[in-house]
Symmetry: C2
Subunit: 628 residues, 2 copies
């Protein structure tokens, strides 16, 4: 019965909305039956429309007002432009804030399903495909998202000159050379004024952007190049002097140790604080969400960023290159990211490849004590520019104050009685108890009501810059049956009051039956599993331990290098029954490092692990322990 | 009696506000009398406070809730920092949109007076001193505003090298040289993170900005240098290669025809679309406002920008250099600006000097037809990036559609029945009548309900870049008894659908008894009075006239050059009884130009004008007329 209603195409009706830009009577079909039905789009009609944005935005208003169960697209390729897209001022943690234009503004929706029917959604210019806010029980399924012109620059190295430190790049993405610099260019509509006078403000409006965060990629492995730091830097302020040799080839001048090899691929995103504007999915203050059978081929920030939300499932939510594409990059930042979430996060059956950042990151964010106002009130501040207007907490949330140097809790649980926002950096918190004798300026505050549990299983991570899974949450997390081949650590459990202020110690983390394959080829001195809370004190000065109960068992570590596990400040660490298998995928970068480094941990068990060399011999894992 | 209450200092009471950051009981004095009284600040207390921002923001909340008549400062010097300032997302026409931090958030105030008592208000970093929105009968008086660190770079040329095209500048404002470029640096607070790691994001957050819109100033005249285009360009994308010679001297490399002379002054603001963030006064949707005895010594955008407001008086609202200051610049943009206003704008007894743009500009803004949706609806768009989220009109406003090529009205008066914002560029307008046969894509639409009358008298304009008064409004305007010595035209009456889309033909403009003194020394080919609607058609192709009834009489034009008046597309132009007096302030730049150029005007009267040469002889004014 459900299925029957699902595909029902019945009598059409007209829209009543005030923002009708098109006559939709022949496009949408509505139901006369009282049971909530799906809006079903007429394939013949919508396939003719250049820009589906205003039609879908209007359809969603209609869906909400009529209580439809969902909207269903016939399988096809649909284009979305920003011109008539509604916009919303949106503060998105770990991405760039601003007015975001979207065709799918899901605000205050309940029990709603967006069924793409296997369609390709192609976006143009600065857009945010899906905003899901204050919504419950939402499913998005069976669609792919991509952009016609990407948010990065890609080009193949044709020639290089180690003496002059120049290299010639055949650029494969839209670009502009001007003022001795190369700019990546994003898609935008020309106004008649601009037709007459040129793109006068394209640079200032960041449609042309200076390059930033450059990295060299290896075409043969489709991954970041081995030891990329020799050829490129992921720093922000640097941009290469550039000279156009012809319409598609640009000569760049390097400041790095070596020029990139011929045949390798130059990759760069735009300027920092302008290069995370367009995530694929923005989720905020929502609950019970399912993302299923989705391919994110590209996005101009993270693939999915969920914040202050609970109970989210990603099932076959893939961040993958399009099969026929020459591109080497999917998302400009993390594939997925969960901040300040609770309930259960499930990530299963997903492939995350070729991102310019991590596969996932589940964490809270420490705000920091800015001022003690009185016994029960503090002003707090968030420091990273990507945490402006971060939604730290609300009335009733449980908070803990952590010491600014040790990162360890220094208060019992406090309850928020009131939050008053002052500006995008500073808010005032009122607590149920006195904090006068406890809190000091610059201490961290952690919202422990919003730590999530997670199950991460049967996923593949490969060919991305940076890490696999980053876990910072004190609820139970299981990481099972995954394949992770990342450029840096496969897993990182950190916590810091430095750059990102990521909060939440781990408590009850299980990592088992995973395959870690040739991680750490970027050249960073990490470990495949890296547990490194960034305390300001030396670990030996800290009384107590940051993380608790981490079990790493029955995993396969295929690795060309030495570092397997680095663990700091853990109470209860089990590393057992793991198999390390040496490979010759790359030359070792840190062959003299011990396989396992344990620094200031308690209750550590290392047993039944094996280490098989290329020769077939077995060796004991080398362990360096500092238990002080 | 009023005066007595004014100075009353009575029993103090505590605040109930949730955002109390300070104990204010000893700072504010309240009245027990039922008559609305002023909040009076305790001098001894507030003079000790480093940052008055949170105290004033809270006091204003209290003033509103208690119905106070105003807030009174004891004479003193007070500092305002952004740290605890409330912020508001604000779209300000002709300035930069964004979250603005202010100590004076006057939203929904009525019958309120901010009495500065002759105080100096010193601002730090990115702040907007006064926001006045949805407020009526507001007076701000007796105060000055200034910034500790300015929004421009200033430096004296010590040496130059015409061969290498370099010049050495002793920089007098905060700066940074990095990556072979010079940055102006704005004030910001260091976070502990930044203390440890440096201003990692100062460039990306635009606290360090590349220079933009450079111009050379003349220290002896304190005005822009004669023929500045020889040495500098007001373009946006250009920035000089720079090398620090020592802590204060930087060698810049010019791309212009000549290097600036030794002793002249290099002036530059930051990057376009980031250099108009902080006007002094933002006025929006307000009525009956008086600004009296105010000195704006500096602001990081316009001095005062009023939008969608009516009946505003500026009396001794001065944009002037501080007497003891070495600075040569006051406001980064126009001293004052009125867009989409109605009622009567009065500007009297003001001095506007040393701005980087005009003294005032009174105009509407043409939006443009983007799409004809149906008989009664269009989508319109605003094109200039400084017109994002421009408030074009509301229900009941009278609109006229103007032809995109001739700028002449092509519709009768239409009434807005509804406005629906789609995004910051596009909105949908519903009219009371059909526009189907009238409107075409890219035609302009003009909101004629919001054209203001104006009286501009007894003002002085001097030493600024650009023009004096720009008038584009079809209500009566009188410009009398002013002294105007501007670098470009003293007065401009234009109208365009090109760059700025400034709307409103003049109708009944009187310009009399003014002194125009040595204008046009910048080298632009203009005229002291420039009437030049920027129609896309040749004037001879246009049937009809843009402006109407302009009287220019009894003025003194002291001028070293030839061009006095250029008038195009006026029906009813009188230029009579004016005295032109030749000076030797500068060498003539366009000596072969006629004094008066009339192109495509009707009903023109030129009579009783005199032209006295340096020799004492009198000459007839030369006139070039094209009446086709």
């Amino acid at each position: 019965m459900t299925k029957k209603i699902f595909f029902l195409i019945i009598v059409s009706i007209a829209f009543a909305s005030a923002i009708i830009l098109f006559d939709l009577t022949s496009i949408f079909k509505d139901s006369e039956i009282n049971t909530p039905t799906y809006y079903v789009l007429d394939e013949a009609q919508i396939s003719q429309i250049k820009d589906l944005t205003p039609i879908i935005a209007q359809a969603l208003e209609e869906c909400k007002s009529k209580g439809h169960a969902g909207i269903k697209f016939p399988k096809g390729t649909y284009h979305f432009y920003p011109t008539y897209a509604p916009d919303f001022y949106t503060a998105i943690t770990n991405n760039d804030n601003g007015l975001k234009r979207t065709p799918f503004p899901l605000f205050n929706f309940n029990n709603f399903h967006i069924d793409g029917g296997g369609s390709d959604f192609i976006f143009h210019g600065k857009m945010l495909p899906f905003i899901i806010e204050d919504s419950n029980n939402i499913t998005v399924s069976d669609l792919s998202i991509d952009w016609d012109m990407p948010f990065f620059t890609q080009g193949t190295i044709l020639e290089n000159n180690p003496v002059n430190k120049t290299f010639d790049v055949k650029i494969e993405t839209p670009f502009l050379v001007e003022d001795n610099r190369i700019y990546l260019t994003l898609e935008r509509e020309n106004s008649p004024y601009e037709e007459e006078f040129g793109h006068r403000y394209a640079k200032q409006e960041k449609y042309h952007q200076r390059l930033g965060q450059n990295i060299i990629w290896d075409r043969s492995t489709r991954a970041p190049i081995y030891k990329h730091g020799l050829y490129s830097g992921f720093d922000n302020s640097f941009f290469f002097p550039a000279k156009a040799l012809n319409d598609s080839v640009v000569r760049l001048t390097s400041k790095y140790k070596m020029v990139p090899p011929i045949g390798s691929v130059f990759i760069s995103k735009g300027e920092y604080l302008n290069n995370r504007e367009c995530p694929g999915f923005r989720v905020f203050k929502s609950k019970d969400l399912l993302f299923k059978n989705i391919n994110v081929h590209h996005s101009g920030a993270m693939g999915l960023i969920a914040e202050r939300s609970s109970d989210i499932t990603l099932d076959s939510f893939n961040v993958v290159l399009r099969e026929d594409s020459n591109r080497l990059i999917t998302t400009i930042a993390d594939a997925t990211h969960f901040c300040n979430c609770k309930g259960l996060i499930t990530i299963k059956n997903c492939t995350f490849e070729n991102m310019l950042d991590d596969a996932t990151n589940i964490h809270g964010t420490y705000a920091r004590v800015k001022k003690i106002i009185n016994d029960n009130q503090i002003a707090y501040e968030t420091y990273h520019p990507h945490q402006k207007d971060y939604f730290f907490g609300a009335k009733g949330d449980s908070i803990r104050i952590v010491d600014k140097n040790s990162l360890l809790p220094k208060s019992e649980i406090l309850i928020i009685e009131d939050v008053k926002r002052i500006n995008e950096k500073v808010s005032v918190l009122s607590f149920n108890k006195s904090i006068r004798e406890i809190a000091e300026e610059y201490d961290g505050i952690d919202n422990i009501s919003w730590h999530a549990s997670a199950i991460i299983e049967n996923n593949t991570v490969r060919n991305n810059r940076a890490r696999g899974f980053l876990i910072s949450t004190s609820r139970k997390v299981e990481v099972r049956n995954n394949y992770i081949s990342s450029q840096m650590a496969a897993m990182r459990m950190s916590g810091d009051l430095k750059l990102w202020n990521e909060s939440g110690p781990c408590d009850s983390l299980i990592i088992e039956n995973n395959q870690f394959v040739n991680n750490l080829h970027g050249g960073n001195k990490q470990a495949i599993i890296l547990i490194d809370p960034e305390q300001h004190l030396n670990k030996s000065q800290v009384e107590g331990y940051y993380h608790k109960d981490i079990i790493i068992s029955n995993n396969d570590f295929y690795t060309f290098d030495s570092p397997i596990l680095k663990a700091e400040s853990v109470d209860g660490l089990i590393f057992k029954s793991n198999r390390v298998i040496q490979t010759d995928a790359y030359s070792p970068i840190f062959p003299d490092e011990p396989n396992i480094k344990i620094n200031h941990c308690k209750n550590v068990t290392l047993k039944d692990n094996t280490y098989k060399l290329l020769t077939g011999e077995y060796l004991n894992l080398s362990v360096e322990t500092n238990l002080n």
